[in-house]
């Protein structure tokens, strides 16, 4: 198997749309030195869905610590946030 860039992660934010979601998540990423490479937003069945492609190469904390920070933020925002390494999506949906 070829190694893909394991520094790429996907952050998926879903929930009821409100003011300040993008800003709150972006701030959290910036403070953990996580770079945003791409963002897509959409409304699905009345739900706000934002998917971010990020790079954790320069991140200064452990993955677990970073993820815990983001999950804490998800509780504050009342949004569901998933943080996953990107290669799982590349593998599962490509022959």
């Amino acid at each position: 198997m070829n190694e893909v860039d394991t520094n790429q992660i996907i952050i998926t934010v879903t929930g009821k749309d409100k003011v300040g979601i993008v800003s709150a998540v972006s701030n959290a990423l910036a403070s953990n030195k996580v770079n945003i490479e791409d963002i897509k937003q959409t409304i699905m069945q009345d739900n706000f869905v934002m998917i971010m492609l990020c790079n954790i190469e320069k991140m200064e904390v452990s993955f677990k610590e970073f993820k815990d920070n983001i999950l804490k933020l998800s509780q504050e925002l009342g949004m569901e946030i998933w943080v996953q390494k990107k290669d799982i999506f590349d593998r599962m949906h490509t022959i």
């Binding site: 897509k40 999506f89 599962m92």
Partner: protein, 455 residues
């Protein structure tokens, strides 16, 4: 090129969150061939040390990878070389002591189960095997994480009927020793025809004598993913379409498993072994193989047509899995345990699913009669008859079959046994009341079958 595909990300998250896609087990297969000695304590200590040396990081590393991918890794397990082989050269060997030391090591490294308290007697017993069989019940009753298995037959050698009867006695005695917990000991014991050497699933996992020093085998599951996909299909979609959809889902599940398995193997610095793609249910709603039958259009599991539904499912799962990984192994297919599957329990309670129908289904499923509770007063000879029938299906059809049956001491038809956790709960099922006594007491070996003139 797109950086990512939104639909695929949402679909993956749905599979994990709603349809219970999970890595059912990461099983470290560990050879104990270098642990033999002439003394029980020395051998037990060598086994203990080896488990600690190789498996100390298994749980922590698995948790780390689970966190990175947000995909649950439900169980962490260890599969050992059959202990009957490893300890046979010890003088006056005490297998129970070895079992307890293995259990202690399993607790120390934090795994959920450890398999390999096993014997391979398909063609006959050695002196050590006979002693081993005698000590299985006490070993299972005095440990928590230990699982035991025996291979009673193969398509090449035939079936050892002396061992079939002895196995029935082991099951009954184990059930009696653990009667205070609904005879749960018997749920940690399985007998096989054509046992596989790289299976990561319990109770039958062991490290075959042909296996490497160590390897990481992965068992991946997701019956909910398959049933929900079929439910979304039009009711008039033909079987070609249904089979194709199952293959696609199996492919996705397998690739997820292979990715996680390879990451974990690399982290542990052990070779990746096989991925076993088995649709293994759990007692949770929506994580059921029986629900796949319903999605295909059967009112209940057990209805006429169930064997065909299972045959197609099992085959399509393998085809999808094979495409996704070069090293598909183990038992790959669809499991049909009763107590671990909410839909099967419902069908059994309704009378739609009987032992006889389950037996027919095992001729096309991935393994065999699994997690079936029967009355505690079932005679040993009847249990031996049930095992013999199942061994016959495996031997003639050149497939793995197994029996994991629990005579629940003190309980009978109309009651149910509670095993808890992944093992679930099982209604006590009716067995045939007529005797197999004389038949199973004949003993000897069923001759190896002919492999031509197939009809």
């Amino acid at each position: 090129m797109l950086n990512f595909n939104q639909q695929q990300i949402i679909e993956t998250i749905k599979m994990i969150k709603i349809h219970h896609l999970d890595i059912r087990t990461t099983t470290l297969s560990l050879s104990l061939r270098d642990c033999c000695s002439t003394d029980t304590k020395t051998t037990a200590n060598k086994i203990y040390d080896k488990i600690l040396k190789y498996a100390s990081n298994l749980v922590a590393f698995a948790d780390e990878i689970e966190n990175e991918y947000s995909i649950p890794i439900v169980n962490k397990r260890i599969a050992l070389t059959p202990i009957s082989l490893v300890a046979e050269s010890c003088e006056n060997v005490d297998y129970v002591y070895i079992a307890q030391m293995i259990d202690k090591a399993a607790k120390e490294v934090g795994v959920d189960f450890v398999g390999g308290f096993s014997a391979l007697v398909d063609k006959g017993f050695t002196k050590g095997d006979l002693r081993f069989f005698e000590q299985i019940p006490e070993a299972l009753a005095s440990t928590n994480k230990l699982c035991s298995s025996v291979n009673l037959g193969t398509s090449k050698a035939g079936v050892n009927m002396d061992a079939v009867l002895k196995t029935a006695e082991v099951i009954k005695k184990t059930a009696e020793l653990t009667k205070d917990n609904d005879s749960i000991g018997a749920a940690k014991f399985v007998c096989f025809c054509n046992a596989v050497t790289d299976n990561p699933f319990m109770a039958g996992a062991f490290c075959g004598v042909n296996e490497a020093e160590c390897a990481l085998n992965i068992g991946v599951s997701g019956p909910g993913v398959v049933s929900s996909a079929i439910e979304e299909l039009d009711k008039t979609a033909d079987f070609g379409e249904v089979a194709n959809l199952i293959k696609k889902m199996a492919f996705k599940i397998t690739t997820a498993g292979e990715l996680i398995g390879r990451k974990l193997a690399k982290k542990l610095d052990v070779p990746f072994g096989v991925i076993d793609l088995s649709l293994a249910p759990t007692p949770l709603r929506g994580d059921s193989v029986a629900e796949i039958f319903k999605a295909m259009g059967l009112e209940q599991a057990g209805a006429h047509g169930t064997t065909m539904a299972l045959a197609m499912l099992n085959d399509a799962v393998k085809k999808g899995g094979i495409m996704a990984s070069s090293y598909v192994g183990g038992l790959s297919g669809a499991f049909i345990p009763v107590s671990e599957d909410a839909g099967m329990i419902e069908a059994a309670n309704l009378g739609s699913l009987t032992i006889d129908k389950l037996e027919a289904m095992t001729s096309v499923c991935s393994v065999g009669l699994d997690m079936i509770a029967i009355p505690g007063d079932t005679p040993n000879s009847t249990i031996a008859g049930i095992i013999a029938d199942e061994m016959a299906i495996g031997m003639i059809n050149k497939k793995t079959t197994a029996v994991r049956i629990i005579p629940v001491i003190g309980k009978t038809i109309g009651q149910s046994a509670e095993f808890g956790g992944l093992l679930g709960s099982a209604p006590i099922m009716k067995v045939n009341p007529y005797s197999s006594e004389v038949f199973v007491n004949r003993g000897g070996r069923i001759p190896a079958p002919l492999h031509s003139l197939n009809n």
